[in-house]
């Protein structure tokens, strides 16, 4: 198999959302001592881009979208220790701290966004569900994160997002982070009202919004 054939296989594994295959090919890349940057740039990334295109076109639905992201994650997990060993810096679009706000134990929406962000080149630190507002700040500060993403599924817990932004203001940390909010009851007008930097109505849009914010 030629190198370009291997890259083609990698791309295919992501498009098909085949986690085992994506990981197997990553291991093969290590064994065959391929250029890791090339593996990522020419193999896997075109795959996740294609998944995004198919989603935009309406051919892919959420199960395919998320399987693609998971396959990407799986491949990267295999490559990462090697990247570290070889001291190779991969391009990260920025560090993201994400979680569902306190009082809310729903995390499906948050998980989708976390997977999509990480598949698209963000470094994601997932704090899970029912996360104390202070903890977002602690971790984001310690990890020098660029983004803080707050999820809430309940109308009763989305107010935590408002509290959080107030808390950032009070601690004079508002300028340090880009804050994204999401969740079933959350809307654009809510995001504007509480002074968040962005809102995405679904996981793909969240990625777009995050990328747009980086440009500004």
């Amino acid at each position: 198999m030629s190198i370009s054939e291997i890259f083609e296989e990698m791309k295919k594994s992501i498009i098909e959302g085949n986690r085992e295959e994506a990981a197997r090919l990553a291991k093969r890349a290590i064994e065959e001592k391929l250029d890791f940057n090339e593996v990522i740039e020419r193999g896997y990334i075109p795959g996740i881009q294609k998944v995004g295109e198919l989603w935009e076109k309406g051919d892919y639905f959420l199960p395919e979208l998320i399987s693609g992201a998971e396959a990407m994650k799986e491949a990267m997990a295999v490559l990462e220790p090697e990247l570290k060993k070889a001291n190779i810096q991969t391009k990260s679009l920025g560090r993201v701290v994400i979680g569902t706000v306190e009082g809310d134990i729903h995390d499906i929406g948050k998980n989708l966004v976390a997977s999509m962000l990480s598949a698209h080149g963000f470094e994601v630190i997932d704090l899970g569900a029912d996360v104390k507002l202070e903890r977002f700040i602690e971790v984001a500060t310690a990890q020098k994160a660029r983004f803080i993403c707050l999820s809430a599924l309940l109308t009763t817990t989305m107010t935590g997002q408002k509290k959080f932004l107030k808390m950032l203001e009070e601690k004079k940390l508002r300028e340090k982070f880009l804050v994204l909010v999401g969740g079933a009851p959350v809307s654009k007008s809510w995001a504007e009202e509480i002074g968040a930097d962005g809102y995405g109505e679904n996981a793909m849009i969240a990625v777009k919004v995050a990328k747009e914010l980086l440009k500004q």
């Binding site: 309406g58 639905f61 959420l62 199960p63 009082g103 134990i105 729903h106 499906i108 929406g109 989708l112 109308t155 009763t156 107010t159 079933a184 009851p185 679904n202 996981a203």
Partner: protein
């Protein structure tokens, strides 16, 4: 006279019901459920169940489930504010109530969503009071002009003052139960009397899959001990937070509901529980939870059938729509849902008035939905033999000019046999034109105004109003809130 058949919809065979329940029992025993509430975990330990404190997971044996099913009443009664009128919640009785706890209202003037304020809550309660086919009220709107900490008690405070109908409600915080309970007790006069004549249902939603949060488990425990019926609102989303197949989601639904039922029975043996839910067929394209999807309604109808098989009162979120405005989608989704729900004999049907995935209320839609509910009630009355013979005598001596309009028989039966909606358009084209070519949404707007103008609110008596106000203010102050919005009674 021949006995009237009550039309019925049953989607599941008995064989499939048994299989679903068997799997659910196995999951309860082998996988267990997560319960993030210390008191509930303790109750399970005391009943001899295996509890993993680290994981906050309990494994529930089928014997305990079976005992708890036996101790749960198969039906319950709700009473209106005066305690005089009773409503059976059980058997195949059907009661509609406006969907609960939404944070937006559709403004009829701008046709856009906005945040509800106290006056909207008052209007919703007053309007519900005069709608014949909406038997219960609900704390359907969360008021944006009071701090969110007291959002739960405040909506009950308004509902109880402006409508006499029994009320479907629930807590947003553990401390919310106390003031809400106090208000209900104040109206009944004593805790005992409230237990004897329940006025409210408290909803509690597990988090799929198989989780009871601290708040919801506490609501179950508190309600059970107070004799307040708990409505279990399990809400799996197919392929997202529950299995993608309808039958698979039904298994999870039964596991969640049965675990909630056991918590209630352990807290207080014999406490009333309603087998309910708000699951949805998750939309894989938009990532949304369409309540108007036919698969959502199929899951609802089917779990209600299982609830009935288990001899429990039932509930569902049906007769609502995902449309954002009052349009054809709003009508047909609500209509299909109301009909399926009624045919399924679901006891409490929450939904009328709701748009946009249970997130927005519309008073105009509520009055339209009232007519849909009226039609659903008519449908389930079925076709009866009213007299003997049926028609032979009426056609005796038939002549060419025979008509029925002036017959006493017609006068006697036409209002009983036929339902007359007010808003549905049945005019000829010309009559419709001469009435201003109005859509049902436009007529509904006028109807809301007419109903509110012509029906003065049925207020609580002054002494009770004061008492409720005191409870509400105490609750507000305990949260550091000094003032509540002025309540204007128009």
């Amino acid at each position: 006279m021949i006995k009237t058949v009550r039309p019925k919809l049953e989607l599941l065979s008995e064989e499939l019901i048994k299989k679903i329940i068997d799997e659910a029992l196995l999951i309860l025993e082998k996988q267990g459920v997560f319960i993030e509430n210390k008191e509930a975990l303790l109750l399970f330990k005391e009943s001899g169940m295996r509890v993993d404190d680290e994981e906050k997971r309990v494994y529930i044996l089928p014997e305990l489930v079976s005992d708890c099913l036996k101790s749960t009443p198969s039906s319950l009664k709700l009473y209106d504010r005066s305690g005089g009128k009773e409503y059976l919640v059980g058997e195949d009785e059907v009661h509609f109530d406006p969907g609960s706890s939404v944070v937006a209202i559709l403004d009829p003037k701008t046709l856009e969503e906005r945040k509800p304020i106290t006056s909207d809550l008052i209007k919703l309660a007053c309007l519900t009071e005069c709608l014949e086919h909406i038997h219960f009220q609900s704390t359907g709107l969360v008021s944006s002009d009071v701090p969110e900490m007291i959002g739960d008690s405040y909506r009950l405070y308004i509902g109880l003052q402006f409508s006499t109908k029994p009320i479907v409600t629930g807590t947003f915080r553990v401390e919310g139960f106390k003031p809400m309970y106090e208000m209900l007790v104040a109206i009944r006069g004593s805790e005992e009397e409230l237990r004897r004549k329940p006025l409210a249902i408290f909803d509690a939603c597990p988090s799929p899959p198989l989780k009871w949060s601290n708040l919801t488990a506490q609501s179950l425990i508190d309600s059970a001990r107070a004799g307040i019926p708990s409505e279990l609102i399990s809400m799996g989303l197919t392929g997202a937070t529950s299995p993608v197949t309808l039958a698979g989601t039904l298994v999870q639904h039964v596991v969640e509901n049965l675990s909630g039922l056991v918590i209630c029975q352990l807290a207080c043996n014999g406490s009333p529980v309603i087998f309910g839910g708000s699951p949805a067929s998750f939309d894989m394209r938009c990532g949304t939870t369409p309540m108007g999807a036919v698969e959502t309604m199929m899951i609802d109808s089917a779990y209600a059938q299982i609830g009935k098989y288990l001899n429990l009162p039932t509930h569902a979120y049906m007769a609502l729509s995902d449309s954002k405005i009052i349009d054809a989608q709003a009508g047909f989704e609500t209509g299909i849902g109301a009909i399926i729900a009624a045919l399924s004999g679901i006891n409490v049907i929450s939904g009328p008035g709701l748009l946009s995935f249970e997130s927005c209320h519309s008073l105009e839609k509520l009055v339209i939905d009232n007519e849909i509910c009226g039609m659903a009630y008519r449908l389930i009355e079925g076709i009866s033999q009213r007299d003997e013979p049926l028609a032979r005598d009426l056609l005796e001596g038939l002549k060419k000019e025979t008509q029925f309009l002036s017959l006493p028989h017609t006068k006697k039966w036409y209002r009983v046999e036929h339902f007359f909606p007010r808003l549905v358009d049945r005019n000829t084209y010309d009559a419709w034109v001469s009435h201003g070519k109005k859509s049902i949404a436009e007529k509904a707007q006028e109807e809301v105004e007419r109903l509110l103008r012509q029906n003065p609110p049925k207020l609580l008596d002054q002494a009770l109003q004061k008492e409720l106000q005191k409870i509400m203010l105490n609750d507000a102050r305990s949260q550091g809130i000094e003032n509540l919005p002025e309540i204007e009674i128009s």
